[in-house]
Amino acid sequence: MSTDPHVSTPLKARDHARAQASTVVRAMPTIPASTAKDLPAGVTAQDVVWDETLDAGDYCARILKAGTRLRLTNLEGDACANLLAYNADRPIERINVADTIKVQWNAYLGKGKLILSDMGRVLLSIIEDTCGNHDTICGPSTEKSNARKFGHGENYSPYPNARDRFLLGLLKFGLGKKDIAPNINLFKGVRVGEGGGLQFIPRSSKPGDYVELRAEMNVLIVVANTPHVLDPRTKYTCTPVRLTAYRGPATAQDDPIRVATPESARAFQNTDDYFLS
């Protein structure tokens, strides 16, 4: 039982609580977002709509309005941004990783690629990518996979797993376990070798690498920053990822990503068509 004289009465407890509020830690949201510092070149403070840093094990869920750009920055080079995406207006429509790689005839993500929904439409375009090593195959870590590596993997443990972090983000939007679709992982690369073997790329990224996503409809994204399931290190290692979102123009009819391939053109046509009626 606390006998600390400073919080022995409600008013002292109030003062004690209020005195904490100016604390700054490295992983927290910038509120208001327009006070965010170190913005991408050309981005003005008034256009910033969200700025938040996730440390190892942290997660967030947020709606990006169509046209919003989201820059994910791998501040120290060792983050793993597990990502899920949904049509925010109708979340029964969600990311489809198999369609994403099959329609674009390639298993790997990078600048110029689309992240497709299961309804043949574009959720997100990758408009910048300085890293080039991402994963479309391995999915999230789980309580069991973390327990095998770190001794514990429960959500409340020091080693939370990506799947539970996804679940919490989804629950806050009224969604649940069934909505944890196959996902992608940014900044940790996995390659398919001869004979189908999976190869984890140990140093996939460097400090300051970033991926910039453009929302092509109103998109709910859920991001968990947790060690990759194939990362062999037995110490829970994951450095902070910064998420900075800002307003941008709608995707033009002659946008280079839109017109890059016949498949991308039709994916954007389907997305345009969806907004007509």
């Binding site: 029964i92 489809n96 990783v97 198999a98 369609d99 790689i101 099959k102 329609v103 005839w105 390639n106 298993a107 790997y108 497709l116 299961d118 309804m119 043949g120 439409r121 195959i137 391995c138 999915g139 999230p140 789980t142 309580e143 069991k144 996979s145 799947r163 376990k177 069934k178 909505d179 944890i180 679709a181 196959p182 390659r191 398919v192 004979g195 189908g196 073997g197 999976l198 399931v229 194939l230 498949e263 039709r266 994916a267 046509q269 389907n270």
Partner: protein
Amino acid sequence: MTMTMPIEPSAIEGKVVLDHVIPSRAPWSGVVKKGQILRIVDLEGNQSGDCILYNAANPEERYSAAQTMVAQKNIFLALGTNLMSNEGNVMMVVTADTLGRHDTIGGACSCESNTLRYGHHTKHQHACTENFLYELGQHVMGKRDMTSNINWFMNVPVEADGTLGIVDGISAPGKYVDLLAEMDTLVVISNCPQINNPCNGFNPTPLRVIVTEPRG
């Protein structure tokens, strides 16, 4: 080409508890109880059998392609593969495979993705996702229950730079896989109706499913 003889029930060990031909383009679902073996036979060759697994007692537990691939550090399903659930449990084990490798990254064809892959004219062609949704509807499930799937007998190579595609099959008439259930498993199969790529040799044909259990 050597033609493999069709599998006769008499050639199967154990007691046959179900023997069903899935017509071309049709769905099928059934519960394979723990200890039973499901054999899926590619009757006429190069016919993709799209497949999702659910824990029959708790369908929120379901097949996870990611966990299956991570567990064996390989994208191809073959003899010995443990088919893993999203909860990290083994649902079924591949105990026989006369083909050698099967796909689990290619997903299921859908009306919507067909429009991206082949053109808007394919919007109203039948597709695996239609089969899956229909069959899930019979089990009081729906679109939220769609997840990653297996494509038995389908060939999706990945090249060094990540290039991938559904290419000519390596299956043949009579090729089969045996799946031993490690839990009571609701198996949902779409006999793929796709006609725009080689996954069915551009000609969808029947599959046969046979469930057996140990005698005595």
